[in-house]
Amino acid sequence: MNEHNRPHTSTEGTSMKTREASGPSKMTARSLWENLKDQSASELIIENLIRLSGISVIVVVTLIFFFLLREGSAAFLDIPLRQLFGSRWYPIEGLFGLWPLMVGSFWVTIGAVVIAVPLGLTTAIYLGEIAPLWQREILKPFIEVLAGIPSIVLGFLGWVALAPIIQNLGAPSGLTAFTGSFILAYMSLPTIISITEDALYAVPKEYRDGSLALGATQWQTIWRVVLPAARSGIVMAIMLGIGRAIGETMAVMLVTGNAANIPEFGFGALFQPIRTMTATIAAEMGEVAQGSLHYNVLFGIGIVLFVVTSGINLLATRLVGGRGKRRPGGRL
């Protein structure tokens, strides 16, 4: 039922327009035929171009996957698994323990999610449900600017401005997992905000009207009706935000200290320096001789990252797919 209530999609819009243009009876049968032929020729070209770009994505992804496998699989075959998941990463001495890097990526990402999700969701709710139009028109461009800031600039800000603050709070050094998390949170905020806002927007107006008509307050409507209805889109927003956080490299490399350390599990871990998988690849890829074990292990880390992000995406589609396919509003 949601489908019918949604505003026109763009394809519907164009077909309506063309029908109007070629519809009038004044037109002779011949020119109508010419028109149609022209249209079908250009349509054929456009269709094939689109198909080609679609296929190229599949080809590229497959190529990446095979390249990763070819270069990285040796890491998993040549190094005993126990060593590969050992606790020490010191490649120049042949210590290839990936565990500290995984833990590092984990903490930075968790920290980023904890900061970004509440901030992102509340911002999106404010933008989509509460803010009057004029405020929204001011806020939206700012969020777009935030999305446009190159990550290295945010990383530099973190290095210059945020790290000293965190050091003053009592951490031995300002270069910690939390510093990275904070930067990453702001990097993934635009993604979370805009997708959540889209999801909220796709909730049919009738839901809100119905809720308000039954005497619910605006907050009750948002919390009990709109948010549950937009649940799948919100999950997607969070997942994509996490994906952005895990994959980010340069900013994280600048501010997390890059110590391949395994902090004790707990809140304090956020204020320890860590080393992420992405930063490790970036820092060390230039140094390795092609074909060496170290080179293979760096690609092995790439495989781990690939698997983790694919897992997150898969989970996201699962969670979203379970609640009515591609129906942004979802079911109540």
Partner: protein, 326 residues
């Protein structure tokens, strides 16, 4: 609420107009990836033909280029050399890039540079890898560097023995009060593992020059991507300790710690003099490597570097010139 409905429809259209642009961005991304892929393939192809390339470069031609890459410690000297040499030999252009000794040596092994800069000697493993690629590395000492151990100016520590330095960097000592400082945690700073300075420090300080010793840096050591990373963190962190080439240390903002070889022996400040007479324990040779014995332009360039004119630049930048040219 009717008003709200209007807003909704208003907003829909810009949203749907965005779709083609995201699609375009996607296509752009795909195209740039394909471009990148083909470039990297070309890079692979170049690897195989680099030998003949450098041969033709050292032969007679209008524009002869020398590719020079590696150690960040050496990069400033190498740049100064290249700039000065351009005035002497305008037909030869020398492209200098940094990235770390490991990076330069890897490039030499992969055959993509003419000269690799290194702040450490090549390892057995790397020499074998080069030989497998048909490259016989040729080593030239081009300058000497003293490695300064630096702390925040407010740090009260007046001197460290090599043993204390090793204990600090392996994590056996984690509080400054154990080496005569205040009661504060030690924050260890180091270069990344691709840095020759890192490897030199590992061998001479962390392992005290003992090749049987398998100690490595404590896991909590912060690995900085550059010398600047170390100095700027050090300037704001009173608990930090780091190390850097003498030429990169600014004594106004960083405190240089005198180092003693053993307990009871004098603490020595690093300087050109103490590095040359061997009193300062953390002095090392800086190297350039070529594929095989250098010929043509590369040989002329290296000879010039070792000459008095080349070594004058070394001392001007705060490093230690080769003894023979004193």
């Amino acid at each position: 609420m009717n008003n709200g409905n209007l807003e909704l429809t208003e907003r829909r259209y810009p949203a749907s107009r965005q779709n083609p642009s995201t699609n375009k961005r996607l296509v752009g991304a795909v195209l740039s990836f394909i471009l990148l892929l083909s470039l990297s393939l070309m890079g692979c192809a170049r690897t195989n033909t680099a030998d003949s390339g450098s041969d033709s470069a050292s032969g007679s031609g209008e524009k002869r280029a020398i590719q020079n890459k590696g150690s960040d410690t050496l990069v400033n000297i190498a740049l100064a050399w290249a700039e000065t040499y351009r005035q002497i030999e305008p037909d030869v252009s020398i492209a200098v890039t940094g990235g770390g000794s490991g990076t330069g040596i890897a490039a030499l092994i992969n055959g993509t540079v003419d000269i690799a800069n290194a702040s450490r000697a090549m390892k057995e493993k790397e020499i074998t890898a080069a030989q497998e690629n048909g490259i016989e590395p040729f080593e030239i000492v081009v300058a000497i560097d003293a490695l300064a151990v630096i702390v925040h100016p407010d740090n009260p520590v007046e001197g460290l023995t090599l043993q204390q330095l090793a204990d600090l960097y392996t994590g056996r000592i984690t509080n400054w009060k154990d080496v005569g400082g205040s009661d504060a945690p030690v924050v260890l700073l180091s270069r990344e593992t691709n840095s020759g300075t890192h490897v030199y420090f590992l061998e001479e300080a962390v392992r005290l020059g003992d090749s049987e010793n398998k100690d490595i840096f404590a896991p909590q050591t912060l690995l900085m991507p550059s010398s600047v990373g170390i100095t700027s963190e050090l300037r704001r962190n009173p608990n930090a300790i780091g190390y850097d080439g003498l030429g990169y240390v600014d004594p106004e903002h960083e405190k240089i710690i005198p180092i003693s070889r053993e307990d009871g022996m004098p603490y020595v400040q690093p300087s050109v003099e103490t590095a040359l007479d061997g009193r300062y324990p953390l002095a090392r040779n800086l190297f350039m490597y070529t594929a095989g014995e250098p010929t043509g332009d590369v040989a002329a360039y290296l000879d010039w570097i070792k000459s008095a004119a080349g070594q004058e630049i070394v001392s001007r930048l705060g490093f230690v010139p080769l003894e023979s040219n004193e």
